[in-house]
């Protein structure tokens, strides 16, 4: 069992790095579920005036015809139009890049943002698509059979548990 990674110190640094991007009227969107948790924390730290959006990318996943729909699919909620806005897309882990590919497709079905920046709490090797983050909380070396799974403690604090998975799957 590897020690969990605590997010509190990572989030402070991420907020500072996002601030340094110097985006005008940014619209923050978290990817359901882990990315939305991270986005909530960043949104509060940055005191962004625009409400936080959440994205459920189930309808845009590239493995639908292989594995079907996730039964717990939720509605995406984008409280403000993405048209001509600077969007900060937030996810918990960047791995294969397939989730982000789906998220970008979904965002463009809502409108045409001016720019999209990507902030992730954890960046791990294993990319299958040419996607990279603009803001990275922490880089970790994880072998394919290891999984970083976000969890919320009883005190509300976020952490990553490092688990050994039975087969490849889950968040990317």
């Amino acid at each position: 069992m590897t020690n969990p990674i605590l997010l509190a110190p990572i989030l402070d640094q991420m907020a500072a790095d996002i601030q340094a991007l110097d985006l005008e009227r940014p619209l923050m969107i978290g990817i359901h579920t882990g990315g939305a948790w991270v986005a909530e924390e960043l949104h509060r730290r940055l005191e962004l005036p625009s409400p936080l959006g959440t994205l459920d990318i189930s309808f845009y996943r590239d493995d639908f015809s292989r594995v079907g729909l996730n039964p717990s699919v939720r509605s995406s909620t984008l409280p403000e139009s993405v048209d001509d806005r600077a969007v900060i897309l937030v996810d918990d882990v960047l791995y294969t890049g397939r989730t982000l590919r789906a998220a970008l497709n979904e965002i463009f079905s809502w409108g045409r943002p001016a720019v999209v920046r990507l902030a992730v709490a954890l960046d791990r090797p294993g990319r299958e698509l040419p996607i990279q983050a603009d803001v990275v909380g922490q880089r970790v070396e994880l072998t394919p059979e290891r999984q970083a799974k976000i969890a919320r403690g009883e005190d509300g604090a976020l952490r990553f548990d490092i688990l050994t998975r039975e087969r490849r799957g889950g968040s990317a």
């Binding site: 590239d62 015809s65 594995v67 079907g68 939720r74 791995y95 989730t99 079905s109 968040s171």
Partner: protein
Amino acid sequence: MMPSDSAVQFDSSGRLRHFLTINGLPRETLTGILDTAESFMSFGQREIRKVPLLRGRTVVNLFFEASTRTRTTFEIAAKRLSADVINLNAARMSTSKGETILDTVRTLEAMHTDMFVVRDSASGAAHLIASHLPSHVRVINAGDGRHAHPTQAMLDMFTIRREKGGFDGLCVAIVGDVLHSRVARSQIHALSTLGVAEVRVIGPRTLIPTEIESMGVKVFADMAEGLSGADVVMMLRLQRERMEGQLVPSEQEYFSRYGLTEEKLRHAASDAIVMHPGPINRGLEIASSVADGERSVILSQVTNGIAVRMSIMATLMGGADGGEETG
């Protein structure tokens, strides 16, 4: 053979592959479809009201019996999922040249159809087709004879859940021509699977099938009695075109006894909703003032029908190619 066997709807690994009847489907399957439909409801807000789930798939609407609203909502649902849709008014096609239903379907399957949406005046048509096609082809029953209309029942359940917040403790009254209604049968199966407190059917004896009580419903011949305290009033269309002989007295007399008026509706719960699968016979089974009144959710049913049919199509096509999950 009665097409009540629900087993053909599942593949060997327990995935729902066809949607033919609600009879025999577990509650989790029904709530899963309702939950997924809920997430399709936000689509009106998007600039592009489509998702790519069925991109590259071909859906054939095969209607051996005329229908406007059902066929249209299936078509919209398939198109919002990015499928290619072919509408065939099969009543006018080759069946009149002597080709059987199965020949027609096999011919269309040879054109690489992925899903058939089937409506027929004969009970069991969709079931027959599902049992004779290769396993990768999906079939949805869009109404077969007097047997079942499962997608209509699911959109009704979705509407009830949205309006009432759930099914616990609800008293639901189904009113009118139960005898000829495939909708009523599917509604009763769905309501009992989802666990409402009480299902009633109200209508003249001539329009209530004798075996209906074995489905666990209470039968009423009197509207005031049957509507008393009901939370949901589901009206049925009087299907004059299916009637042989004198099953109902004059239309005026039918309306005065069983037509839903504001006066009769007062017997139901004060927050009761009024539903109707359409098309409405105004002034026959329902008064215009009720159909267009504030308790009516008839137009919501139509809108909800798109999300529910998207959900059913996506559920059936999901995992079509099998294989491993790829993060």
